[in-house]
């Protein structure tokens, strides 16, 4: 029943979107919430206008702490995503020839990992020498991330610093501070994407880069990414994703450009669940990765 409502809901958004074009996000958000039949809607709606954090999502992810670092566990797709998102961030920040490469290409780079979770990406970036700040709204996850990074000898003296906070709070303290902001597989869990992107960009130095990876909102992702992956193949914990919170690549591009950024690159991403492998591709049907520069 619930999924049917969702489907209906999603369908309506789509119709709405077609009627009104891509640009009006807040309208979509409001519309979406009005369509939502659950009793908590009004309450959520209230929060939605001024926060990015979905407490339900925070709770759901908090339940996964035990398996977070199991590379073959429920989050194996997130672990293997490191194989393409770390090079994506690295090459977006530093380009050097084969001979000049050294083990710490991201040295002296301050990176903010928004929605860092257990720190899978934060630790990966820290290993390349970056000084990483990881923030997440989940207290348990931040504890897990802190604990795990301390036990990782490979990080040596370059531990990421973790804070349990939201990006809008964090942006108050650190304006024009970071060389890069990474929001990997986060924006699809965010309520108010407008505030989210605005806060992310605020923390960036002028000329700094923002990297976003997220599933695309399309029928294919709804079927493959949510129904098949969560209910048939069980490769993603159930309830992880809500279709109506997904974005499309043009939506994200507009959002970034409206927030004083220039979108430099967008790649498509494809996941092969049986070999647990990600690949960058031309097709943005399933998921995409976007790189943008904050204008000076």
């Amino acid at each position: 029943m619930e999924s049917r409502t969702k489907l209906f809901n999603a369908f309506n958004i789509n119709v709405f979107k077609r009627l009104h074009g891509f640009c009006n996000f807040s309208a979509i958000n409001v519309k979406k919430c009005l369509m939502h039949g659950s009793p908590s809607c009004a309450q959520q709606n209230q929060k939605k206008t001024n926060t990015t954090v979905d407490p339900e999502d925070v709770y759901r992810h908090g339940q996964l702490t035990k398996d977070w670092w199991d590379e073959q566990g429920v989050l194996k797709g997130l672990h293997s995503l490191n194989l393409i998102r770390i090079p994506f961030v690295r090459d977006g920040l530093v380009q050097c020839s084969l001979d000049e490469r050294d083990p710490t290409p991201l040295k002296d780079k301050k990176i903010l990992d928004v929605g860092c979770g257990g720190g899978i990406l934060s630790e990966g970036l820290a290993k390349l020498g970056a000084s990483v700040t990881g923030i997440d709204a989940g207290k348990d996850l931040i504890e897990l991330a802190t604990e795990h990074s301390k036990n990782n000898p490979k990080l040596a003296n370059n531990l990421p610093s973790y804070f349990c906070t939201t990006v809008e709070e964090h942006s108050q303290e650190r304006k024009d501070y970071y060389d890069a902001v990474v929001a990997s597989e986060v924006i699809e869990h965010v309520y108010n994407k407008e505030i989210f992107v605005k806060a992310c960009v605020e923390t960036l130095k002028p000329g700094g880069k923002i990297f976003v990876t997220t599933p695309n909102r399309s029928r294919i992702t709804q079927i493959l990414g949510i129904y098949v992956a969560e209910y048939v193949l069980n490769i993603i914990p159930r309830g992880t994703h809500q279709y109506d919170k997904f974005m499309t690549s043009p939506e994200l591009t507009f959002l970034l450009e409206r927030n004083n950024c220039h979108v430099e690159l967008t790649y498509g991403m494809i996941y092969y669940p049986f070999s647990n492998r990600w690949e960058l591709s031309k097709s943005q049907l399933l998921a995409f990765a976007t790189q943008a520069e904050k204008l000076k």
């Binding site: 194989l83 770390i86 690295r90 001979d99 050294d102 083990p103 290409p105 990966g124 290993k127 390349l128």
Partner: protein, 458 residues
């Protein structure tokens, strides 16, 4: 300075009581086996800037020895292809080899004793690059060793005279990937990644418990250093397929060549026992003697030849004549068994195999060690890639990439060499006909020949 200290420390440990169970060192990488491939790998791990943070230990069974170039050539030589040359160049090893000695091969001729068919490879087909380089094993090892001990490499420790008594490999599902190498003197070393570069009878491979597909060829390789009757430029490699196996002459300098003669076990033993003069006679026979011909084969090959000529392609009629042999260098004769070997897995969690430990081929194409150097090149490239991505070198994705990229290259090469061996080991009319015409066509069709050459040089 530190390195020499450590080395002497390790040496002194050997004389201390052998019953201490403590770990003598923890490393990122331990290379078991300091042959040509193992040493090259150690050198490559030391030279690449991306890999210079790895702590590497090279375990070599033989004692350290000083090598000096002697006037006589060693009877063990290798033919190195362009890819190996560029690897050695990047490791700055090649300049040492050039300073000692090597002989470039500019032309190569391979022909069949049972027919007129022939194939030739010339440097003009390779944009005037040399087809191969003949280098003595000792010279190459010494050159690698020089670079390995140079001050540029700080992260590699070497233990000579290492006698390994066993391995404790990580179990599947072990979260902590760590191998332990136990030495017979009681020392133990721990590592994240163990690399088996310990040759065809690899103990690492056996400890991994992987399937090893192998068969012995009914042949031995007889090697020797030869003196030619007259001085020539001598940059041609010769190989003639006899019904008993191929006989090959590899140039060393203007008057000397190295012999690799694959023949039946009994014949090989006989050849080793023959007095030097009779050995030389037998060899000249092998290079020059007319074998009984079949008129069918001769008719067909000459018809194909004339067709090719009319089409303006090489008909293989222009052949060069091999040199005749004057003498064999005293006590340079030796023989070794020949076999095929293929390990179905090159990797396991925390373990990788390189060189002969993973694959073994018949020497008829001079590819064995080049495949091993190809392993080294790919493995270090993948390590560098893993580290540049912020991951451990033991990450299974990169090890799997190594395995599949190498097997994709090595296995077809091995099978092609095995097929050649089988094709030429029989003297049956239809087979002789098929291979002769096949060889003629291959020689005439440049794209096919180019394909073979590119497979053999990568």
């Amino acid at each position: 300075m530190f390195k020499t200290n450590l080395r002497s420390l390790i040496a002194s440990r050997k004389f201390s009581s052998g019953n201490n169970k403590q770990v003598n060192g923890a490393y990122d990488v331990i290379i078991a086996g300091g042959g040509m491939v193992g040493c090259t790998l150690a050198c490559a791990l030391g030279k690449r800037a991306l890999l210079s943070n790895l702590k590497v230990l090279l375990l070599e069974g033989n004692p350290s020895s000083e090598f000096r170039v002697k006037p006589e050539y060693s009877n063990r030589v290798v033919a190195l292809n362009q890819n190996t040359k560029s690897l050695m160049n990047s490791l700055e090893v090649w300049e040492h080899v050039e300073k000692m000695r090597l002989q470039p091969v500019r032309y190569m001729q391979v022909w069949d004793a049972c027919s007129d068919a022939l194939i030739s490879f010339s440097s003009s087909d390779l944009q005037d690059d040399d087809v191969a380089y003949i280098v003595e094993n000792d010279v190459l090892l010494c050159a690698i060793d020089k670079e390995l001990k140079s001050s540029n490499i700080k992260n590699v420790d070497i233990v000579y005279g290492a006698k390994i008594s066993g391995y404790d490999l990580p179990k599947i599902n072990d979260t902590k990937m760590e191998s332990t190498v136990k030495m017979s003197n009681g020392d133990t070393y721990k590592c994240q990644l163990l690399i088996g570069a310990d040759g065809a009878n690899s103990a690492v491979r056996k400890a991994m418990g992987v399937q090893y597909l192998s068969w012995n060829y009914d042949q031995m390789g007889v090697v020797a250093t030869l003196h030619l009757s007259e001085a020539t430029e001598n940059t041609t490699a010769w190989q003639r397929f006899l019904p008993t196996g191929p006989v090959a002459l590899l140039p060393l300098d203007s008057t000397r060549s190295s012999l690799v003669w694959s023949t039946t076990h009994s014949h090989a033993k006989e050849l080793l026992k023959l007095p030097e003069e009779q050995f030389v006679d037998a060899l000249n026979d092998a290079l020059w003697k007319q074998y009984p011909r079949r008129s069918v084969v001769d008719t067909c090959t000459s018809w194909v030849g004339s067709c090719l000529r009319r089409a303006g392609l090489a008909d293989g009629a222009e052949r060069q004549l091999p040199p005749s042999i004057r003498a064999v260098a005293p006590s340079s004769r030796a023989a070794f068994p020949l076999a095929f070997g293929h390990s179905t897995r090159y990797i396991a969690p925390g373990i990788a195999l390189v060189g002969d430990a993973a694959h073994r081929v018949h020497p008829l194409a001079g590819q064995g060690v080049n495949l091993g150097f190809g392993d080294v090149k790919d493995l270090t490239d993948f390590f560098a890639d893993a580290i540049y991505t912020g991951l451990d070198i033991t990450h299974h994705t990169w090890l799997e990439k190594y395995e599949s990229s190498r097997q994709r290259h090595n296995v077809p090469t091995q099978l092609a060499i095995d097929a050649l061996y089988r094709l030429y080991s029989l003297d049956i009319a239809p087979l002789v006909l098929a291979r002769s015409v096949g060889l003629q066509l291959t020689n005439a069709l440049y794209p096919v020949k180019k394909m073979i050459m590119s497979q053999a040089t990568t």
